[in-house]
Structures are given as C-alpha cells and as structure tokens.
Amino acid sequence: MSTNLQLSDIAEFHWMMDMLQVVDVGIVVLDREFKVRVWNAFMESHSSKLPSDVRDKSIFSLFPELQENWFRNKCRPVFDFKGRAFITWEQRPYVFKFPNYRPITGVEDFMYQNITISPISNVVGKVDYVCMMIYDMTDVATNKKRGEALEVTLNELREKLAKAGEKVV
C-alpha cells in the first residue's frame, strides 16, 4: 500500500519536473550564493549551456556580462523581504544575451526579455532560493518599436502638412 503511494508520488514528481522542462519560459533557481540550482530546457536551448555545465556554478561566472552589483541589488529585497522583483525589456532589453532563434522571420538580433524574480521559502519560511522566470518579449518589443517609428513619421508628415497649409493662407 505504502509502496504504491510512494510510486504515485514519484510519478507525480516526474511529470511536474517534465512540465518545468517543456514550458516555454526560462526557469532558473539560484541559491543565496547565486549558484544555479535549476536550469530548464528553455535556458538550455537558448544559452547552449547544459544543466550539467551550469549546476552549482555562480551565475556571474557563467555570464560575465551580467553586472554583479546590479543583480545582487535586484535580488536583495527578494531574499530579505520576500518581495518579487521585476526587470522589463523596456528597462534592460535583456539580462541573458540569447540570439534571436528565428533566423528567417525574426528582425531583432537578440531576445528581448521580461524577468520576474520570486522568492522560494523553505519549511520555516526563510528564503533560501530565488526563482527567475525569463519571458521572451521580442515580438512585443518589435511591434512597439514599429509603432513608435510610425508615430514619428506621422508627426513629421503632420508638421509638413501644417506648414504647407500656412503657406497657402
């Protein structure tokens, strides 16, 4: 009886891990020393770094371009106050530089990212880990930039039109 229960527990754990792997969002769990504890398939595919390559290594040594001070400051309120931290593509186009993976229809060189950093509490409520979720925002960013460019063109045309109108009067 108890073995059955354990088996179903393991099965459940298995499909939950599977879900973490297939979800189209980057998931990274870091400990207090900023060492990588979880690295899902999204991260693996886009960074070309295997989970076995990154496990227990400091995120700063894996990504030297990541500014250590800046990132530590971002994570501090998450560790200390169990708050969430957000980084948007408008603020920083990316934290992890991943090349655009749509070679034919993609117009940007790299992936724009929105990132949420959430606390993970242990059984006594202390935050030992933080979880980073990395969302691909490239399409949104492209569209927004296009929209803004259009607005500028439109304004220029409007001004020209107004000037032409003044001349006629």
Partner: protein, 333 residues
C-alpha cells in the same frame, strides 16, 4: 450623426472637452480655435451642438453668441469657461446659450446637462447594480483605511530598511471613485511636476486591481543618491530607479494587504506608462472600460530628501464583494 463642435483656443481644453463627451455617444467631433473658425464650421453644416469657450482671440465667445443670435444658425450652445462670475452666466444665457459649465469640465457635469436639455436620451444606468457600492459604509471605509494603514506601515518599514532613510507615512485615502474623479485626483498630484509612471496588475481569488506608481521627475537625483547609484542619471537609469522603487512599494504593500486579508496576490509584469509626461496623459489611454473603482491613495515622502512618490491601488467594483466579506470578519472580531 449629430455633430459636436468644440471651440476653445487652448488645445488642452479642447482635448479635455472631447474626452468628457459621453463615451457611448456616437457623434462627429469637430474643433475650432476661435469664434470665427467656429462660425465657418457651422456655416459648413457642422456643429449641432457647440461647446464654447468665452475668452479667445480673434472672436470671443460673447461675439460668437451674438453672431449666432442674429444669423440663421441654430446650434445648441453650452458655454464652458473658467469665468465663474454670475454676471457671465447671465450674459451668455441672454445671448441664447443653454447653460454654462465651469472649467475644468467633468464628464459627469456635461452628461447631466446633455440629459437635462434632451440632447442625449436619459439612459438608466445599465442593469441594476449587483451590489450597492455608491457610498462606502463608514464602518467599512474605516476598515479599509485601517488595513491600508497597516499595509502601508509595513511597506514604509521595508522601504526605510532598504534605503536606510526615514519614511514619512501618509494617511491613506480610501475612496470609491468614478473615472472622472480619478482624473481630478491625479490633477491634484500633477500641480507642478512631471512624473514617470508604472502600472502593475495584481490578482487574487475574486479580487483584482491595478497598482499605479508615480514618481515626480524632480525626485530622481535624490533617489539615485539614496540607492547609491553612481553616474549621470539619464533616462535609462531613471527607468531603472523607477522600477526599483515601484517594485519595493507595490510589492510590500500588496504583501501587507494579502497578509491581513488572507489572500494571495500574483502580480503581472509592470508596464511603463511613460516618462516625463503629465499624469492625465499617462492614464488617458485606458479610461474606457470601468466606471467605478475603489482607490487607495498613498503618497510617500522621504525625510531630508526631495522625493515624492504616489502609489494608488485601484480595485475593481467586483473585487469589493470579496473584500467587504473579508473585512466584515475583521469587524466582528
């Protein structure tokens, strides 16, 4: 289609008047910068309804009214002016205007007048409202206020510890407001400064809303100092500071609320509303969908620094059902 002509020399005033037209009213809107333009437009068949300012160059409101009076034109005229002397009211009415609205114009007052003169049909507020939330019950309001107070205190405490400064805690302002009132509330904040804003949606079981965080542009230098950021405070850095400050305040405030109400909120990604803009511009884009909202207004200051930021939590009418229920338990204890 009915044609509405808005005549004012100020572009801001024209825009504002246009915004105040009832949202569900299908009309063609035209603009004129002064009386002469308005008359030309009317002669071209525009302007069944004329919203007319008084003080304008070239041809002012009085002259325009006089001209209309003596001509074949027969628009319905409502005067919108900052001139609040009773004399002005009397004069425009003698000249044939239907009525007078004082500036700044609000959607509510305009709608009322339009109904009064039968320009729009009186439509009963659609479907009887499921719950009575027109007025906040005093007990419940006290309760909201207290809950907000506690959440704010916690947020202030976190902020103080992160930034190592003393945080002046405001008294939270809790109100049930309408769209137009939100505009007015924001105009109060607007007074002299430009702001940068962020909004962030949050949702818990049966409760959802939006947090609006605004930091006045003059605060950035000091915020950079406090956060120990070096280098020139350019737009990019300002956005970073804005995001950090918003993260801390919104996050801790929601945590405070969720703890007391025993609700878990998840937060969406923050959205930048814009940088260096006037507040009314910031929120003008999205005022269509809702009518009433519970607004919890918090405005923080940091002692010894020139930092002003405002946090407004806006909760939907539907959320109040759950909130009131939760709060009534607090009241009983």
């Amino acid at each position: 289609m009915l044609s509405v002509l808005i005549c004012d020399d100020s572009m801001v005033a024209r825009k504002q008047a246009a915004k105040c037209l009832p949202e569900d009213w299908e009309v063609a809107v035209h603009f004129a910068k002064h009386g002469k333009e308005a008359i030309e437009a009317m002669q071209a068949g525009k302007g069944d309804l004329l919203l007319l300012d008084l003080n304008m160059p070239i041809m002012d409101g009085y002259q325009t009214l006089e001209f209309i009076h003596q001509s074949e034109l027969s628009p319905k005229v409502i005067v919108i002016s900052g001139d609040i002397q009773p004399e002005a009211h009397e004069r425009v009415k003698r000249l044939g205007a239907l009525d007078f609205i004082e500036k700044p114009i609000s959607a509510g007052s305009l709608r009322k007048l339009l109904r009064q003169y039968g320009i729009i049909q009186t439509k009963e507020p659609e479907t009887p409202e499921p719950l009575q939330v027109d007025k906040l019950d005093t007990d419940i309001r006290d309760c909201y206020q207290e809950v907000a107070n506690i959440a704010m205190g916690q947020a202030g405490d976190h902020l103080a510890r992160i930034l190592n400064v003393f945080v002046r805690l405001p008294i939270p302002n809790v109100n049930l407001i309408e769209v137009s009132e939100l505009h007015m509330m924001l105009q109060d904040i607007e007074l002299k400064d430009q702001v940068s804003g962020i909004c962030q949606g949050f949702i818990g079981p049966g409760v959802c809303g939006e947090a609006l965080f605004m930091l006045s542009d003059s605060s950035f230098e000091d915020v950079a100092n406090i956060l120990g950021v070096e280098g020139e405070v350019d737009d990019q850095l300002q956005l970073e500071l804005l995001m950090d400050a918003a993260n801390i305040l919104i996050g801790t405030c929601l945590t405070g609320l969720s703890g007391q109400l025993d609700l878990n909120f998840s937060q969406g990604h923050p959205i930048v509303l814009g940088q260096h803009r006037s507040i009314s511009e910031l929120i003008s884009d999205n005022k269509v969908r809702w009518r009433k909202t519970l607004a919890i207004e918090l405005s923080y200051g940091l002692e010894g620094y020139n930092v002003r930021c405002d946090l407004i939590l806006l909760l939907t009418e539907e959320s109040m059902q759950v909130l009131n229920y939760k709060l009534s338990h607090l009241l009983e204890d």
